[in-house]
C-alpha cells in the first residue's frame, strides 16, 4: 500500500503494463522453443516502429477528447505519394523525401483539424468521412498503379534494417530507433513543456482550459495536425519497410492505433494518458499477435479474438481502478477536512 500511494496512478499503470509484457514473454518462452531471441525482438521492433508513430499521434488527439479515424488512409497516401516521388526522381535528397512525407501527412491532418476545431464538427464524423475521402484521393492519385520495391533506391529499403546499436542479443535498427526517438521527444514535450501541457488541460476540462486562457480550438487543431504528421512519417516508414505499396496500404491502422492507445492506458474520454503507454500498448498488441501465430496449441486465427479480449480487459481494469482511486481520494480529503 505504501508503494501504491507513493507512485502516481499513471506510473502504476505503466508498471502494470510492463508486468503484463513480462508475463506474456515468460509464458510464451515456456511454450515456444527458442522464443526469447534476437529475431523476436527484430520482428516486433520493425512492425512497432510504424505503429508507435501512429499511436503517438492518435494519443495526442485522444488526449483532447477527440478521435482520428483517418490515420490509416493518411499512412497509405503518404507511403504512395512518397514512393512515387522517389521513383520519379531517384537522386532526391533523403531529407527532402522525409520532409515531403511529413508535409503530406500534416496537410491532411490540418484539414481534419480545421473541420473539427474551427467548423466544430464532431471528430468521429469528420475523420470517418475523411478516412473515405483520403482513401479515394489515393485511388484517384494512384491511377490504378502500385509502387514496387524495384523502383525504390537501395538506401530507402535498407534504412529500416540498418543496425544502430545492440543491447545483448537485441539489435536496435534504424527504423525502430528513429521511432523510439520521436516517441521520447513527444513524451518529454508532453510532460515538461507548457504548450504541450495544454493538450491535457483541454482534454480534462475544455471550459476550465478556456477560462485559464488556453485557446482550445488551436490546441485541438494542433493535435490533428500532429496526428497527420505522425501518420505521414509512418507512411515513410511503411514505404521503406515494405517497398510494395498498393491503394489498400494502411487499411485498418486507425482501429489498431486506437487499440494501442487504449491498451496503453490513454483515457478515451480525454485528459489523461501518455505516449509511452501507447508505445508499450503497441508493443503488447504486436507481441501477442506474433506469439500466437507461433504458438502450436491454438490456431493462429485466435489472435484477433485475443486482442479484442485484451482491449476489453484493459479498459475494464482501468475504469474500475481509477474509480476506486477516486473514491479513495475523496475519502482522504474528507478525513483531512475533519
Amino acid at each position: 500500500m505504501a508503494l501504491l500511494t507513493r507512485l502516481s496512478p499513471a506510473a502504476l499503470r505503466l508498471l502494470a503494463l510492463l508486468a503484463v509484457l513480462a508475463l506474456v514473454l515468460i509464458f510464451f518462452s515456456t511454450q515456444i522453443e527458442g522464443y526469447l531471441n534476437g529475431r523476436l525482438f527484430n520482428r516486433i521492433s520493425s512492425s512497432v516502429a510504424i505503429m508507435a508513430l501512429i499511436a503517438t499521434g492518435q494519443t495526442l488527439v485522444i488526449l483532447t477528447r477527440n478521435i482520428d479515424l483517418s490515420v490509416g488512409s493518411v499512412v497509405g497516401f503518404s507511403a504512395f505519394a512518397t514512393g512515387s516521388l522517389i521513383s520519379n526522381h531517384p537522386d532526391l535528397n533523403p531529407l527532402i523525401l522525409l520532409l515531403y512525407a511529413a508535409a503530406v501527412g500534416t496537410g491532411f491532418g490540418m484539414l481534419n483539424g480545421v473541420l473539427v476545431a474551427y467548423a466544430r464538427i464532431p471528430s468521429i464524423i469528420v475523420t470517418l468521412a475523411s478516412m473515405a475521402l483520403f482513401r479515394s484521393a489515393l485511388v484517384e492519385y494512384s491511377n490504378a498503379k502500385s509502387i514496387t520495391s524495384e523502383s525504390l533506391p537501395a538506401w530507402l529499403t535498407d534504412f529500416p534494417n540498418m543496425p544502430v546499436f545492440s543491447l545483448g542479443a537485441m539489435e536496435f535498427r534504424a527504423g525502430f530507433t528513429a521511432s523510439l526517438v520521436v516517441v521520447l521527444i513527444v513524451h518529454f514535450a508532453l510532460t515538461r513543456l507548457r504548450p504541450a501541457r495544454q493538450f491535457f488541460a483541454v482534454g480534462s476540462n475544455p471550459e476550465a482550459a478556456e477560462m485559464a486562457g488556453i485557446d482550445a480550438h488551436r490546441t485541438i487543431f494542433a493535435a490533428f495536425a500532429l496526428s497527420g504528421l505522425m501518420a505521414g512519417l509512418a507512411g515513410f516508414m511503411f514505404l521503406a519497410r515494405f517497398g510494395n505499396i498498393t491503394v489498400v496500404a494502411g487499411l485498418g491502422f486507425e482501429l489498431k492505433s486506437v487499440a494501442s492507445s487504449v491498451v496503453g492506458g490513454v483515457n478515451i474520454f480525454g485528459g489523461s494518458g501518455s505516449v509511452i503507454g501507447a508505445f508499450l500498448g503497441a508493443i503488447l498488441v504486436d507481441l501477442l499477435e506474433t506469439s500466437l501465430v507461433r504458438w502450436a496449441v491454438v490456431s493462429e486465427f485466435w489472435r484477433e479474438a485475443v486482442l479484442g479480449a485484451l482491449i476489453l480487459l484493459a479498459v475494464t481494469t482501468d475504469t474500475l481502478f481509477s474509480r476506486r482511486l477516486a473514491a479513495l481520494g475523496a475519502r482522504k480529503s474528507k478525513e483531512s477536512a475533519k
Partner: protein
C-alpha cells in the same frame, strides 16, 4: 422541430434530384428488377442502419455490427458443414447475436465503459471468433431453400430480405415514434442523468438496445449467407462505417437525443441511388465511398451555416 422537418425536406429533395437524374440517364433504372436489385445489394447494411438509428439516438455507438454479421454467417457455415441441420444452425446463430449484443450492453451499461471502446474491442473480438471457426476457408453449398430465401422472390418478385426490411422498418417506426420505449430512447440520449432521476432504468434500456443490435446483426449475417450462397471470414468487414454514415447523413445527432427513422430511410434511399447511379457511370467503389464521405461532412456543415446565428458556441466533444 422545424429544423428536423426542414432537414428531412432537404434530404427528400436531394433524393428526388438523384432519382430523377438516374431515371433520365439510365434506360433500365426504373425497371422493377433494377429497383429491387438496388435494395437487395445492400440489404444487410440498410437493415443494420435501422437499429443503429436507435443506438445513436441513445447517444451510444455500435462498431461491432459488421463483425457480428461475420460471426453469425461464419457460425452458420461452420455448423452446417459439421452436419447441424440448417434450422438449428440458424437458431444458434441468432442466439449468438443475442449473447454478443448483451455482452456489449452489459459492459457499456453496467460497468459504464464507453461504447466506442467496448464495441471496438468486440469488433476485433467477434471477427476473431469468426476467423477461428473458418480460418481461411470459404463454405458454401447450403440447402436449396436457404439460398432461395436470399436470392429468389418470396411474394411475387419481392425477396424475403426486402420484406423483412419493410416489416422491421414498420415495427421499429411504431416502437420509436409511438411507444414509451421510443420516448425513453430519446430522453436517455439527450440527457442520461435526467433520465436516471426520472426513474428510468437507463442501464436496462441500453442493454436491450445493444442486444437488439446484436440480434439484428446476426440476422443480417444469415441474410448475407443466403444471398451470396457462401461465407468467408471477412463477411461484413467494414460495414459498420457505412452503416454509421447512413444514419448520420439521415440527420441523427452523434450526441444523441435527435433524429428519426424517416431521416434514416431517406438517407438509405439517397446512398443507394447515388451508388447505383455512380456505378452505372463506371465510378469505382472507393471513389463512391469518397463521395458519400463528402456528403456526410456536408450534412453536418449545411445545417450549421443555416442555423449559425441561432446557435451558441459549444465545446468540442465526441461520444
Amino acid at each position: 422541430m422545424t429544423r428536423l422537418y426542414s432537414w428531412e425536406g432537404l434530404l427528400f429533395a436531394t433524393f428526388v434530384i438523384i432519382f430523377a437524374f438516374n431515371a433520365a440517364f439510365t434506360p433500365d433504372f426504373l425497371g422493377l428488377s433494377n429497383q429491387i436489385n438496388l435494395f437487395q445489394l445492400s440489404i444487410e447494411k440498410i437493415i443494420l442502419a435501422l437499429v443503429m438509428t436507435f443506438i445513436i439516438i441513445n447517444a451510444e455507438i455500435d462498431l461491432s455490427v459488421g463483425s457480428m454479421m461475420g460471426l453469425s454467417a461464419c457460425a452458420f457455415g461452420y455448423l452446417y458443414q459439421i452436419g447441424t441441420p440448417a434450422p438449428a444452425a440458424i437458431a444458434i446463430c441468432l442466439t449468438a447475436g443475442v449473447l454478443g449484443g448483451f455482452l456489449n450492453g452489459w459492459f457499456i451499461a453496467r460497468l459504464g465503459l464507453p461504447s466506442l471502446v467496448v464495441t471496438l474491442a468486440t469488433l476485433i473480438g467477434f471477427r476473431g471468433l469468426a476467423r477461428v471457426m473458418l480460418e481461411d476457408r470459404g463454405i458454401g453449398d447450403f440447402p436449396e431453400w436457404f439460398n432461395a430465401l436470399g436470392q429468389k422472390g418470396l411474394i411475387g418478385p419481392l425477396p424475403f430480405a426486402l420484406l423483412a426490411f419493410a416489416l422491421l422498418f414498420a415495427l421499429l417506426y411504431v416502437l420509436l415514434e409511438r411507444s414509451g420505449f421510443g420516448r425513453k430512447t430519446y430522453v436517455i440520449g439527450s440527457n442520461r442523468d435526467v433520465a436516471d432521476f426520472a426513474g428510468i432504468d437507463t442501464a436496462r434500456h441500453k442493454i436491450v438496445l445493444f442486444t437488439l443490435s446484436g440480434l439484428t446483426s446476426a440476422f443480417a449475417g444469415l441474410l448475407f449467407a443466403a444471398r451470396v450462397g457462401a461465407v468467408r471470414g471477412d463477411v461484413g468487414s467494414g460495414f459498420e462505417l457505412d452503416v454509421i454514415t447512413i444514419v448520420l447523413l439521415g440527420g441523427v445527432s452523434i450526441f444523441g437525443g435527435k433524429g428519426t427513422l424517416v431521416g434514416t430511410l431517406l438517407s438509405i434511399l439517397i446512398v443507394l441511388n447515388l451508388r447505383n447511379g455512380m456505378g452505372l457511370m463506371n465510378i469505382t467503389g472507393h471513389i463512391q465511398t469518397g463521395v458519400i464521405g463528402l456528403l456526410l461532412i456536408a450534412s453536418v456543415v449545411i445545417p450549421r451555416i443555416k442555423f449559425a446565428t441561432s446557435r451558441g458556441s459549444k465545446p468540442e466533444a465526441t461520444s
